[in-house]
C-alpha cells in the first residue's frame, strides 16, 4: 500500500474544524469517491475534529491519500495531548457523552468508516484513525 500524499493540519479553533472538512472533501474528490462516500468521510472528519477541539484541548490531523493496488482511500489520523479517555468501551457507546453532546462522535465516525482505530489512555492523549476506501 502506498501513501501518495500526506499533510498535517492544526485543530485549535472552529475555523480549523471547517478547514478539516474542506481538506477531507478535496482529498475524497481527488480519489474519485462517490458523493455519498465523500459525505460519510467528511461527516466523520467533522465529528472527530470537534472531539479533538472540545475534549482534547486542540490537536492536529494527518490526512493521507492511499493507493492499495486497485483500492483508493483516504486516511485521517486525529491526535491530541489532552486528558485521554478513561473508559474506551463506554466512550464508544452511542449516546455516551461527557460534554453535553449527543454522544455520537466516536461511534458514528466508526460506523461511517471502513477502518477505525483508537488509542487513548488517561494522561496520554488520544489518537483516532479512520480510513475510507472508494
Amino acid at each position: 500500500m502506498a501513501v501518495l500524499e500526506s499533510s498535517i493540519h492544526p485543530i485549535h479553533s472552529s475555523e480549523d474544524v471547517v478547514r478539516v472538512r474542506q481538506i477531507t472533501r478535496e482529498r475524497a474528490v481527488a480519489q474519485g469517491f462517490s458523493l455519498v462516500d465523500q459525505t460519510k468521510i467528511v461527516t466523520a472528519a467533522s465529528e472527530l475534529a470537534r472531539n479533538t477541539l472540545e475534549y482534547g484541548g486542540g490537536g492536529e490531523v494527518t490526512v493521507e491519500v492511499l493507493n492499495d493496488g486497485m483500492r483508493k482511500g483516504v486516511r485521517l489520523t486525529f491526535s491530541d495531548k489532552g486528558p485521554g479517555i478513561v473508559d474506551l468501551d463506554l466512550a464508544l457507546k452511542d449516546g455516551y457523552t461527557t460534554g453535553g453532546g449527543l454522544g455520537l462522535g466516536l461511534s458514528g465516525a466508526r460506523r461511517l468508516s471502513n477502518e477505525f482505530t483508537i488509542d487513548s489512555k488517561p494522561g496520554e492523549g488520544t489518537r483516532v484513525a479512520i480510513t475510507r476506501w472508494r
Binding site: 455519498v36 459525505t39 460519510k40 465529528e47 449527543l102 455520537l104 460506523r111 461511517l112
Partner: protein, 123 residues
C-alpha cells in the same frame, strides 16, 4: 459578527442555513429564534438545510434544540431540503432528529406546518 437571517412568512419563520456554522453562530441562532417566535407569535419554524452538504451531530443537536425550544413556545418545527447524501449519512451516523418533521422543500414544509397547526387547534 454574522447572523443567520430569520424571515417571517405569515405565521411561520424561515431560517436558511447556508454557511459552515461554528458554536457562537449556532447559539446566536437559537437565541434569535426564541426571541422571534415570541415577538412574532410564530406557530412554526422552517429550517431550510438544502445548502448543507454535511450535517454532523453538532448541527443535529442545534436542530433538536431549536425544535425543543420552539415546542415549549407552542410552535412546530419542520426541516426542509435535506440532501440525499446527507440523509443516508445521518442514518448511518445514528442521528435521529426527534421532534422534527421533514419535508422536501419549503412549499411542502409550509403545508405540513399548516396541517400541524390546524390539528393542534382542534385538540
Amino acid at each position: 459578527m454574522d447572523k443567520i437571517p430569520i424571515l417571517r412568512m405569515g405565521r411561520f419563520l424561515l431560517v436558511t442555513i447556508q454557511v459552515d456554522m461554528h458554536d457562537r453562530l449556532a447559539l446566536q441562532l437559537q437565541d434569535d429564534l426564541t426571541e422571534r417566535i415570541v415577538k412574532d407569535r410564530a406557530q412554526g419554524v422552517l429550517i431550510d438545510i438544502s445548502s448543507l452538504e454535511v450535517v454532523d451531530s453538532f448541527i443535529g443537536r442545534m436542530i433538536s434544540n431549536i425544535a425543543a425550544m420552539a415546542s415549549v413556545l407552542d410552535a412546530r418545527t419542520v426541516v426542509v431540503g435535506m440532501q440525499p447524501a446527507v440523509a443516508i449519512t445521518l442514518v448511518e451516523l445514528g442521528l435521529s432528529l426527534t421532534g422534527v418533521r421533514t419535508a422536501l422543500n419549503v412549499d411542502k414544509g409550509m403545508a405540513l406546518l399548516r396541517e400541524e397547526v390546524a390539528e393542534a387547534g382542534r385538540a
